[in-house]
């Protein structure tokens, strides 16, 4: 990415030139988001890690944010691109409020806006390197959808990004049902997050669960999950098979 400023040194003048800035590959990344619809709205879980390649560099990144009064946005992928998306949404919600007409953007509208943004960036070969999860409740109706960095967009009763696709969705397919209580929803998400903690290299043991209902958004305090290591075969796996793993 080059950005040359006009210089007049008498010999030549360079014109300001701005190539499109591209996220060619991500640097600081967030891992999975897992989200489900439940009785009163939507629950969304994510860990608080920002990985820098294989280093677990940042451990206090909030990857789930409230958007307006009715929506929750979770992001995996490049954190700087997520922060840029939050700025776009700030601008969107600000302009929406300035109309002062009593209307406010609902989750369906935000999801549609994000889909357009992601898809159009993809068409310019300049993607925002994120997979986004958008959940919300407006006028009693729950909404949950996701958009990928190439603009693939859809709604569902339960969604997951990254590793969550492989590890969490099978659990959700089996155990999700309509009208989950808050407690059951939290336990289901924690079950998914624990598996991700065991099996995803970029997961860290510090997560937040966010809830959105008609009343509004609440994001839990960060907390850690207990893990289980007391299988007898974990204690001495190579007894009798020296040299194996």
């Amino acid at each position: 990415m080059t950005f040359t400023v006009p210089i007049d040194n008498g010999d030549s003048v360079k014109i300001a030139e701005e190539e499109s800035q591209r996220t060619l590959y991500p640097y600081v990344t967030g891992t999975s988001i897992v989200a489900i619809k439940y009785k009163d709205g939507v629950l969304m879980a994510s860990d608080m890690g920002g990985s820098y390649g294989s280093t677990l560099r940042y451990k206090n990144i909030e990857r789930v944010k409230a958007i307006g009064k009715h929506s929750l946005l979770g992001a995996s992928g490049e954190i700087s691109d997520f922060q840029e998306i939050l700025r776009y949404l700030d601008e969107l919600t600000l302009n929406d409020n300035m109309w002062d007409d009593g209307n406010s953007l609902g989750p369906k509208e935000i999801h549609n806006y994000l889909t357009r943004v992601m898809y159009n960036r993809r068409n310019k070969f300049d993607p925002l390197w994120n997979t986004l999860v958008l959940g919300g409740v407006k006028n009693g109706k729950s909404y949950l959808g996701m958009v990928s960095m190439i603009g693939v967009s859809f709604e569902d009763d339960h969604v997951a990004t990254g590793f969550g696709n492989h590890l969490a969705r099978p659990i959700l397919r089996d155990e999700w049902h309509a009208d989950l209580s808050f407690e059951d929803g939290v336990k289901l998400l924690e079950k998914c997050m624990r598996v991700l903690l065991y099996r995803d290299r970029s997961a860290i043991n510090k997560l937040q669960i966010a809830k959105i209902t008609e009343e509004g958004v609440t994001v839990s305090q960060p907390y850690s999950l207990k893990t289980f290591w007391e299988f007898s075969s974990f204690h001495n796996p190579t007894a009798g098979a020296e040299g194996s793993w």
């Binding site: 990344t29 891992t31 990985s51 294989s54 280093t55 677990l56 560099r57 451990k59 206090n60 409230a66 995996s76 992928g77 990254g162 590793f163 492989h166 407690e183 939290v186 336990k187 924690e190 065991y198 099996r199 995803d200 290299r201 970029s202 043991n205 510090k206 669960i209 809830k211 958004v217 609440t218 994001v219 839990s220 305090q221 960060p222 907390y223 850690s224 999950l225 207990k226 893990t227 290591w229 007391e230 299988f231 075969s233 974990f234 204690h235 001495n236 796996p237 190579t238 020296e242 040299g243 194996s244 793993w245």
Partner: protein, 233 residues
Amino acid sequence: MDLNLDAPHSMGTTIIGVTYNGGVVLGADSRTSTGMYVANRASDKITQLTDNVYVCRSGSAADSQVVSDYVRYFLHQHTIQLGQPATVKVSANLIRMLAYNNKNMLQTGLIVGGWDKYEGGKIYGIPLGGTVVEQPFAIGGSGSSYLYGFFDQAWKEDMTKEEAEQLVVKAVSLAIARDGASGGVVRTVIINSEGVTRNFYPGDKLQLWHEELEPQNSLLDILNAAGPEPMAM
């Protein structure tokens, strides 16, 4: 972000070997990954070569397993022919032979540690390429990057067995906190004139580091304990 289940099994790893005033302590994490997937979260990377010599394996799981298998086989024969336990130096040299002569094909870093009656407790580091370095302590694997500063500050000569083991457990635990390729439990093996002791430290037995929190059963417990107020924004 892809699983890539066809990626070779690699023990990203943190491995450590430390001498103390009566023997050696070897330590390792327990994570084996295939790409970004954790194929085995409770692997045993500290492998026995003889009754008194063990090796910590890092890098390619397959390469390190086959090298240690060959060396165990050679050492078995050597012990019979010699009529007494093999020395740590001989074990290290056998590993070196394989590592050096196959350097183009192997991708494994090893730490050999043990006790013999001639030299007592010894640690030999054998990185990629087949160099052998005898050291008072050795660190290896991807997680070791995070430990150079720690050992520069925390290592001292003539530690007791307890001090040495605590140092190893602390170090592996710190590396696990920052290296995505290391994780799981901390395993240690202590070798001295009296024999060999294996220990196992699951995640919940280790101390918490910066920005780590006390593990809970569920968010519901926290919410119920906090009382009827809603979650803070």
